[in-house]
Each structure stands twice: as structure tokens, then as C-alpha cells.
Amino acid sequence: MTGYPEGYTSPRPEWTTGRGLYNALARRADVAAKYFAVFLLDAGGLAALWLLVTYAYAWYVLGITAYILVPWWVFALGVVEGAILWESLGRSWGQKALGRELTPVSGEATPIRRLLYFVLWHLFGLTGIGFVFVPPLHERWSGLGLRRERPSAQAPVPWYRTSAGLFVAVLLVVTMVSALGVTLTWESLRRLFTQAGQTAEFWRALVRPDTTILLDAMRDMIVTVFMAVLATLFAVAVSVPLSFLAARNLMRGPIGRPIYTLIRGAMSIARSIEPIVWAIIFLVWVTALRSPFAGILALWVHSIADLVKLYAERLEAIDQGPIEAITATGAGRLSVLRYAIVPQIVNPYISFTLYRWDINIRMATVVGLVGGGGIGQRLINYIWGVQYRQAGTVMILIVILVWAIDYLSARLRAKLA
């Protein structure tokens, strides 16, 4: 731009470069995300309240299970309109939860302006058109905008005098009332007080355990312990490398981020499925003839999912300083990994592994219940065979085993810390 007199040329608009365009879009997305987060929280909360109230009404009054009872569009319209009305005219629970409030950009927040905001949000907010502009159109024309709430010197209003507080309280009460009604039936409560004798044999085992089954039970315990140890070891072998791919601070850029998201997503799905369910799937796979194998596979999958999460979270919390320092010496990426990251994570990793081993011992007894081998399988066979005294004996053994491993793992972890 040389050669022109001062003020003759205008600077190139920011959005005409790739980065500038990206920045402009990202800024608009940020603003829209803030508005929609509040809106979704409000609409979701109102929907939950509506559903729960209907559920309780249907359960107690009509004696059926129902959720809406009105045409779905009435429900949707009610929830959306209710949410917008609440946001425009008062302090909604979404605003409260995210620490924001509707404040005037300039002047006073008069009822007229609030009504204007209510209408404009329909036209420009909900449709998304308004967010093309910065500040968004509904904010510009109503003079009201969502801003971070300012600390005020006045004493806060007690929760029972705010709409948000009352809303949460009502939601909790309705939830508890319907939960208690649905889960506790008079029939089962009556049995709780009259049928205690059914379990007498169990407790008898505490005084007179069946010693004839001890040797067999010990063998099953050995299998259980080996299942836990091997599942943990195999899981560590897989999850240590995976954890590096699942750490947000190490996986940046257009290739790294999708890998991170993929692994984290897959792991959190695998973790949501209990080992028991995994054991069922694997039992069909390797047949019930090899039940401990199915059990160890189930433990393995669940351990990987759990360990990757624990490891990766630890990796995300490492001190960035040494990484910076070793990069500054001119070292390559692998050297940075080896000298700046690995020394920081070795002990926590071992500690997490011991913790997971402890959990796997418990889980190994549990997967046995679906036929995953080990002591759990023996226990469930006794229970279903109505051999309660033997079952009680096995349970005592399990308690001792779990207790011992728990103590051992806690001691070792305390030493590592």
C-alpha cells in the first residue's frame, strides 16, 4: 500500500482472509451458543417438569403410566413458549444456572422492552437469523442482552422468592414423590417385614459355614484373582498407548481432534455398559464352555474404557512447563514425550492401575454371576439351587478376598503417592 497518501487507502476488511473469516464465524457461534445454552436449559427443565407432573398424575389418579396426555404439539409449543416467556420477563433457571441475566445494554429494562425482546427472540433468535449480526438483531433492537451477572452489594434474594429456586424445588419434590410412588409398593413393603425368615439360612452360614466346599471355593477364588490380574495387565497394555491419543492437550489440529473425539466417545460408550452386559455378549461369542474367558474379555473391555479415561485425564493435568523447556532445547516430539511427559505420569499410572485391579477383583466376582467363571458363578449356582448356607459361606470368602485386596491396593497406592 505504499505510494498512496496517508488515509487514501482503507485497510483490507478482516473477513476477506481465511483466518479472519474463521474468526468472525467463531465469534458469532460463541454468542449464539450462549443464548441457546440458556434456552435449552429452560426448555429442557420445563419439559422435565411437565413430564413428571403428568407422570405423577397418571400414576396416582388414573392408575396408568403416561407421560404427556396432550397432543405432542401442545406440549412442544407450551415448553418453547413457556421458556421464552420466562427468559424475557423474569430470571429463568437457565440464566441462573449459567450465571447470566437479561440486562439493558443501555437505559432501563422496561416491561415494554422485555415484551419486545420476547417477540424479537421468536423472529431472530429462535430462527438463528439474528446471529448473523454482532451483536445479534434481537439484542440490538430490544436493547436487552444476556450478560454475565454482576455482583451486587445487596443481600441476595432467598431462593424461595425467586422463580428459578421455586422451579428447582418443585421439580425435586415432584420427582421424589413419583419416584417413591413407583418404586415402593405396599405388597413388597409388607413382605420386607414378614418374610425376613426366608434369608435365615444365609445368616446361619456366618455361625456355621459349610467347610466341605472350602477347597472347591478356594480354587474358584484363584481363578477369580487370575481373571482380575490378567484383565488388568492386558487392559494396561492397550490403554497406555490409547490414553495418549485420548488426551485433549496432546491431540490438536485437524487430524488429532477427530481421533481424540472418536476414542473418547467410544470409551465412554464402552464404559456405560456394565461388565455384566459385556460378559453376556462375550459368553455368546466364546460359548459358555469357556466361561472364565468370557469373563476376562468383559473385564478387559470395561477396564480399557475406564483406564483410558483415568489416564487421559491425568495426562491433561500434567505440568506444561517441562514440555516447553524440552521443546526449547531443540528436542523432537518423541523426546519431549519421553523426557517431559512420561516422568510425570509413571506413578499416577501405576496408582490408577492398582485401583482398577482392586475394582476388577470385585467385578470378577460379579461377572461370574452371569456365568463368567470364578467364585461368582459358584455363588449364583448355590443361590439358584436354594443352597443358602453354602452361598453364605462363599459370600464370607468373597468379603475376605475383596477386603484383603482393597487393603493391599490402598497401602500400595499410599506408598506411591
Binding site: 421424589m176 417413591l180 418404586t183 420386607l192 487370575f226 490378567l230 460379579v366
Partner: protein
């Protein structure tokens, strides 16, 4: 560890040192015992090829037991004399000469032989408060290993104990592989069958998501997936609330700093902590099987009771550890102002621990939702009833639908509880 184990020092310290030595010796002995077990298992498996069940039958003639015990004992003794054993490494000691720089091999061999004499005379030297006889006669002693600034330690893998630990690990892998019957061939051979199941599960059948399944009945009522999901979440909710409410007062009784140091206080503390520990080590699902016998198979109440009991024990332990970890300053302040024990708890302890109590409760709720999904296996009620019903029918596309709903619910609860905990912390 004091510089002269078994030597000078108060009797109590001497006892402590002796206990540590005994522990480290037992560790070595047990390690060799484990090697012997594995060796026998492998012998059974490969040599006799007699009846080897999936759990690994151990066949040993009756005269074999003393042999095994003696051989492992000898191995442990010689390991401890000739080098640095795993047990010595575990308590951080090493054999050092009384005088001079290095131990001669002769001294080590002498110590090994003398051990047998010394162990018979153990009561004498223990009573006299001396170092072990074999150590004194061989002019060596077990000393705490101090890092030498000039000579950095050798790599762990090159030391005796490091090699032995690696050996134990490898042995565990081999024997565990055989005991569990890991068979990768089966995994591959039956992959088509498994693939069929996976395929069906990934094409979920959501026909009965909101409409009740007319074939599936629980106590003469038919349910949809959604109905049972709601019931499952409610189970977890009720159990967490009940468990939290009951664990709250109990946790103060199980905290040493609140209970004081009177005999009654100690007794209450011991009983409550024992209750927490025992009940916690019985898994929820095992509790559910007991309560299913008690209040009826497949009732929701059985599941709730199981979850509640386990929640009380687990939360109680976490809570009371928090109570024990409070900073003593505010407590002193209330004591100094003339407050009673109740007032101290109310005004100094509770404000400090409440945030972490909430965090633990939310965390527990998350766990309870997970547990509630599978507790039906042993008759605890909830969505698991449907899962296991469809599984037994072999209707894998409906199993897939149920599993997906479970994943969604558990994931959502995990997320919500995580976010709330972040807010609290």
C-alpha cells in the same frame, strides 16, 4: 528404620523392626511358594495331562507338601543372603557389611548357613534385644538403603529383585492364560456368530420404546422400554437419597476426631467403621440376590434395598474420611467459645464438609444408575429385567435397543453429575 535393627532403641521400636523383617521374609517365602504353585500347575497341565479342569486341579501326593514348604523356605533364605531379594527391596533395606566396603561371598554363604542355627535360637536373641545371630556372626547387617550421590543405582531390570519380579510377572501371565483358558482361536473361529449378534444389536428394534411389549410381563403388567428406564432412574434416585440421608449421621459416628478418645467413642467408631467396611465389600448385586429372596424375586424394592445398603456403606466411609480431614482451626474456635460437641459438629464441621458431601453423593448417584441397570439379573427389578428377558429369547435387536437406551441414560447421568460436581468443586 533405625540404623541398627534389633539393636539399641526402645523395645517398641525393636519390635517394629522385627515385624518388618518378618514381613519381608514372609514376602520372599510367599513369592517362592507362588512359583511352586505355578510350577505344579504347569507340571499337571503339560506332564501328567490327567484330569485338568478349567480351574486347574492341583494334584500333589501327601508327602509332597513338606518338601514344597522346605524347598521354598530354603530358596527364600538363600535369596536373602546371596543378593537383594524382593522382600528386602519392598521394605527398602539391603545387606551391608559391618566393616569395610563390600561383602565377600564367603560372608554371604556363611550367613545363609548360620540362618538355620540362628532361627532355632531366635527366642534367645529376640529376648536379649540383639541383632539376629546370623547377621552378627557373619559380620553383616540389614541396613536402610541410602542413595549414594556418587553412584546412581543400577537399572531395576538388571538387579536380582527386578529380574525376579519380572519372572513372577511372566509366570503369572503363562499360568493365568492356562487357568482361565484363554483361547484366541475360538475368538476368531466364532467371530461370524458374534458378528451376527453385533449386527443385530446395531440394528436396534425400538418397536416397544413407548408402546408396552404385550409379551413381556412383570407381575401381570406389561412395560415399555421407556417405562422401565424411568423406574430404573427412580430406583437409583430413591436409593441415593435414602442412603445419603442415613449415611450422613452415621459418618460422624465413624469419624475419629468427632468421637473423641473415650472408650465409648472408640467402640462406636470401631463398630461403625467395621459396618462400613464389611457391607461395602459385598457388591450391590450380591445384596440384591439376598433381598430378592427376602422381598420377592423381581421386585423393585429388592433392588432399592440393595442399592441403599451399599450406598450407606460406601458413602459413609467417604463421608467420615472427609470429616476426619477437616481443618482443626474452626473446631478449636467453637470449643474455645464454649460449644458442646453437637455445636462443634453443627457450626465447625458441617460447613467444611458439605461441599464434598454433595460431590460424593452425586458421584454415588452416577454409580447407582449404572448398577440399577443390571441389578435385575438376580431379581432386583428395573430395565435389566427387559434386557435379560430379550437376551434369553435370543432377540438381539431388542437387546440392542435396550442397551442403547441404557448407554444413553448412563451417559447422560454421568455427564450431569460430572457437571454438577465441577460446579461444586
Amino acid at each position: 528404620m533405625s540404623p541398627t535393627p534389633g539393636g539399641a532403641g526402645a523395645p517398641r521400636d525393636r519390635l517394629k523392626v522385627l515385624c518388618r523383617r518378618a514381613f519381608s521374609f514372609l514376602l520372599d517365602w510367599m513369592a517362592w511358594g507362588y512359583v511352586a504353585y505355578c510350577a505344579m500347575y504347569l507340571l499337571n497341565y503339560y506332564w501328567y495331562t490327567v484330569h485338568v479342569d478349567w480351574w486347574g486341579t492341583l494334584t500333589l501326593p501327601s508327602w509332597g507338601w513338606p518338601v514344597v514348604i522346605l524347598v521354598t523356605l530354603e530358596l527364600a533364605v538363600w535369596c536373602r543372603s546371596l543378593g537383594r531379594s524382593l522382600g528386602q527391596r519392598a521394605i527398602g533395606v539391603a545387606l551391608r557389611p559391618v566393616a569395610g566396603e563390600r561383602i565377600r561371598l564367603g560372608q554371604r554363604v556363611l550367613r545363609g548357613f548360620l540362618w538355620h542355627l540362628s532361627v532355632l535360637l531366635a527366642p534367645v536373641w529376640i529376648a536379649r534385644g540383639e541383632e539376629p545371630l546370623h547377621d552378627r556372626l557373619a559380620r553383616v547387617g540389614l541396613r536402610t538403603e541410602t542413595p549414594d550421590p556418587e553412584r546412581p543405582g543400577r537399572r531395576a531390570i538388571l538387579t536380582q529383585w527386578g529380574f525376579f519380579a519380572l519372572f513372577l510377572g511372566a509366570l503369572t501371565m503363562c499360568v493365568g492364560w492356562l487357568i482361565i483358558g484363554i483361547n484366541l482361536q475360538v475368538l476368531i473361529r466364532r467371530a461370524p456368530q458374534a458378528g451376527r449378534i453385533w449386527g443385530e444389536m446395531l440394528r436396534p428394534d425400538f418397536r416397544y420404546f413407548t408402546a408396552p411389549d404385550p409379551v413381556f410381563h412383570l407381575r401381570a403388567l406389561s412395560y415399555s422400554i421407556l417405562d422401565l428406564t424411568v423406574v430404573t432412574v427412580f430406583m437409583a434416585l430413591v436409593a441415593t437419597v435414602l442412603g445419603g440421608v442415613m449415611a450422613f449421621p452415621l459418618s460422624f459416628l465413624g469419624a475419629r476426631n468427632v468421637m473423641g478418645f473415650s472408650p465409648a467413642g472408640w467402640a462406636t467408631y470401631g463398630v461403625i467403621r467395621g459396618f462400613f467396611n464389611v457391607f461395602r465389600s459385598i457388591e450391590t448385586i450380591i445384596w440384591a440376590s439376598i433381598f430378592a429372596i427376602w422381598v420377592g424375586y423381581g421386585t423393585v424394592l429388592a433392588g432399592i434395598l440393595a442399592l441403599t445398603i451399599h450406598t450407606i456403606a460406601a458413602l459413609g466411609k467417604l463421608y467420615s474420611e472427609q470429616v476426619e480431614g477437616v481443618s482443626p482451626g474452626p473446631l478449636e474456635a467453637v470449643w474455645a467459645a464454649g460449644g458442646s460437641r453437637i455445636q462443634v459438629v453443627r457450626h465447625a464441621v458441617i460447613p467444611q464438609v458439605l461441599p464434598s458431601f454433595w460431590a460424593f453423593t452425586l458421584y454415588r448417584w452416577d454409580i447407582n444408575v449404572r448398577m440399577a441397570t443390571v441389578i435385575a439379573l438376580v431379581g432386583g427389578g428395573g430395565i435389566g429385567d427387559m434386557l435379560f428377558y430379550y437376551k434369553n429369547q435370543g432377540d438381539w435387536s431388542k437387546v440392542g435397543a435396550v442397551v442403547m437406551v441404557i448407554v444413553a441414560v448412563v451417559w447422560a447421568m454421568d455427564y450431569i453429575s460430572g457437571r454438577l460436581r465441577e460446579r461444586i468443586a
